[in-house]
């Protein structure tokens, strides 16, 4: 049996807004094993974003238990959480969040700057390797405004890979992209998953969820459905089946 990367048990998260208490998560439990490709789905207001923030160790649940790679995050302070994010999580955002006027290579290097055990040579080497794995090594010197949206997102994925995280956490990573580019990104994600990376992908598009091996459906702060995807779509094939776009 493969290792449990995420262990979530009866997680609740409440926000106090003035006199009202908003209960965003009302007791969520699930596990994610190593090598899984999980999508977390849900409509707006389902607690999807709150769940993502907690999974990304940016926020702590009000109650419940969350183990990330056997580390209990409930007892960690701000700095320890930062260190945990640095070592164990690779973020991919909807809006890429690359630093402007900074080359692709330097953007990818960024997480390693906050890891004092990585030397500057090692940092460069690992960043270049991460860029190679998203097939953008030849664009290493380009700044984000010289790259297309899909390329920018691939740089962001390289940045998420560079610290060898136990989990890649993607937040609507295809939300800003057209269908073809979305499929390209999903194809890349599937490749990474095939290499053994654990991926948690938050989305509201069922179309995208179809590429994953398992879907956790949130609704009103609870897990509505947790199903493994028997007939997973292969992104490469989906890409080929798209009509060839005409130049007009």
């Amino acid at each position: 049996m493969s290792k449990i990367i995420l262990h979530i048990e009866d997680i609740k998260r409440e926000f106090v807004m003035g006199s009202e208490t908003v209960r965003a998560l009302k007791g969520v439990s699930f596990n994610v094993n190593e090598g899984e490709f999980v999508t977390i789905m849900g409509s707006s207001g389902s607690g999807k974003t709150t769940m993502l923030n907690i999974l990304g160790c940016l926020d702590k649940p009000t109650s419940g238990k969350y183990l990330l790679d056997d580390v209990d995050i409930m007892h960690l302070n701000r700095n320890e959480l930062a260190k945990l994010r640095n070592l164990k999580i690779g973020f991919v955002f909807q809006s890429y969040n690359l630093l402007p006027r900074t080359t692709a290579l330097e953007n990818v290097e960024l997480p390693l700057f906050y890891n004092s055990t990585v030397t500057s040579e090692e940092r460069k080497e690992r960043a270049l390797k991460a860029l190679q794995s998203v097939k953008l090594a030849d664009r290493a010197d380009h700044t984000p405004n010289q790259l297309s949206g899909g390329q920018q997102q691939r740089v962001a994925i390289a940045r998420a890979l560079v610290n060898n995280p136990v989990m890649i956490l993607a937040d609507e990573a295809t939300g800003n992209l057209d269908t073809r580019t979305s499929y390209e990104i999903m194809s890349l994600m599937q490749d990474l998953n095939a290499q053994g990376k654990t991926i948690v992908f938050v989305t509201h598009e069922p179309d995208i969820a179809a590429f994953s091996s398992r879907t956790v459906m949130l609704r009103d702060g609870k897990v509505q459905k947790d199903t493994s995807n028997e007939n997973k779509r292969v992104a490469k094939e989906a890409l080929e089946s798209l009509p060839v776009s005409d130049d007009y």
Binding site: L58, K83, N97, L99, Y114, N115
Partner: protein, 407 residues
């Protein structure tokens, strides 16, 4: 994140907003340049006062006669008191160990005449040690001797101003006979010009002669106007003052509790007074310059707040990939320090240039001290830390979730 990377990061951030960074620096640049220039002027004037005082003889002690009579009745100016005599000079010569030279001063004003030229001046009757006390030097000819003093010889030494007025055609005055108040005197030497004193008095408008000559032939008095002495060293000028006071109190038979009928002044006292005036001026000028540094610092604070707000998303991203609060704090703090230090470097350069300009254009005495440069750098660094800290702290305390979603 290592300090080297932080500096690189800060430099790049500043490079992106060159004009903005420069305008922010401008406050610091002007402040530092002003501090450097003001301190240079202050130090320079202090130095020039000191050197002009020591040219008068920095270990010089002057004794003036003074009235010790109770208030009331007709009161007269200091020079009309008659309390000092040659006996005092002899007593000091004999009794004061820390005094090197003593000379009486018996002076008189009058008209000096040579042929068709005349000039109103002062004749000073002195002893041979006077030259050393006042740090005067003979230019041409010789100084009169002990035997000239003993025989009340009618010889004199002329200051440059007197020479110019009595010998307008540039004749050699040595050996010539001039008259002072109808007394004929032979010129045996001339003095090296000294220029005006720090009080604007022409130190070259003088005729020197043996005190015995003046007292016998001109003032016709047993009293002298002043008594000059020099301490063995400038540092020891406290001791000789005490010695002279004790000796004069004895010779003048002044009982304990009675006021002295003389007054002693040293150059050290004068120097203290003048120094405190120029220090006050320096403090005043420097604090005005300091205020502009403060305003520069506020400018840094302002622009750092803008920078933090502008880069909220970047801060959120950095936090989400593992930057701790301290990493963000250092990033912005170092950026602020870079602005202030760079401003400081340019400011020091500008300050040095403007100091030189003041020197060469306005001919003011200028002295740039290393301490003022070091001080400016220190103040700059502290300004950067002080005014950069709050914006940096604000950045470090941002919530990564909100920072990432900031529009």
């Amino acid at each position: 994140m290592g300090i080297f990377n932080l500096i690189k990061l800060a430099l790049r951030a500043l490079q992106r907003n060159k004009l903005r960074a420069f305008l922010t620096m401008l406050g610091i640049i002007i402040g530092v340049a002003a501090v450097i220039a003001m301190m240079a002027i202050g130090q320079g004037s202090k130095e020039s006062i000191q050197s002009s005082l020591s040219s008068m003889g920095s270990n010089m002690i002057t004794v003036f006669p003074q009235s010790n009579q109770p208030m009331g009745g007709a009161r007269m100016g200091g020079s009309s008191f008659q309390t000092l005599t040659l006996a005092d000079v002899t007593a000091i010569k004999r009794g004061a160990a820390d005094v090197r030279n003593v000379s009486p001063l018996a002076s008189s004003s009058g008209q000096s005449i040579k042929g068709g030229n005349n000039w109103p001046t002062q004749i000073q009757g002195i002893d041979t040690g006077y030259l050393e006390i006042r740090q005067l030097q003979i230019k041409d000819g010789i100084m009169f001797s002990e035997s000239d003093v003993a025989s009340s010889a009618k010889v004199c030494i002329l200051g440059q101003t007197v020479i110019t007025n009595l010998f307008p055609n540039g004749e050699n005055p040595i050996g010539q006979i001039i008259r002072f108040n109808k007394i004929p005197m032979q010129v045996i030497g001339t003095l090296v010009p000294k220029g005006a004193s720090s009080f604007g008095q022409d130190q070259d408008d003088v005729i020197l002669a043996p005190y015995s000559t003046i007292m016998k032939r001109i003032t016709a008095s047993i009293y002298i106007q002043q008594l000059y002495a020099s301490a063995t060293s400038a540092a020891a000028s406290d001791n000789p003052t005490k010695e002279i006071t004790t000796i004069l109190e004895q010779t003048h038979r002044i009982r304990e509790g009675e006021d002295d009928d003389f007054q002693i002044r040293t150059q050290a006292e004068l120097m203290t007074t003048l120094n405190s005036t120029s220090s006050m001026l320096t403090v005043l000028l420097t604090s005005i310059a300091g205020i502009s540094l403060l305003i520069g610092g506020i400018g840094i604070m302002n622009i750092m707040y803008v920078s933090v707000t502008e880069r909220t998303r970047e801060i959120g991203l950095r936090m989400s990939i593992g930057a701790r609060g301290i990493d963000i704090l250092m990033q912005f703090l170092i950026e602020a320090i870079m602005i202030s230090i760079t401003g400081g470097v340019i400011g020091v350069g500008l300050g040095l240039i403007s100091s030189q300009l003041i020197k060469s254009l306005a001919h003011w005495p200028i002295l740039v001290s290393e301490s003022s440069i070091i001080l400016s750098f220190l103040v700059c660094g502290l300004t950067g830390i002080f005014f950069g800290y709050y914006p940096a702290q604000k950045a470090s305390r941002l919530d990564p979730i909100e920072a990432l979603r900031y529009e």
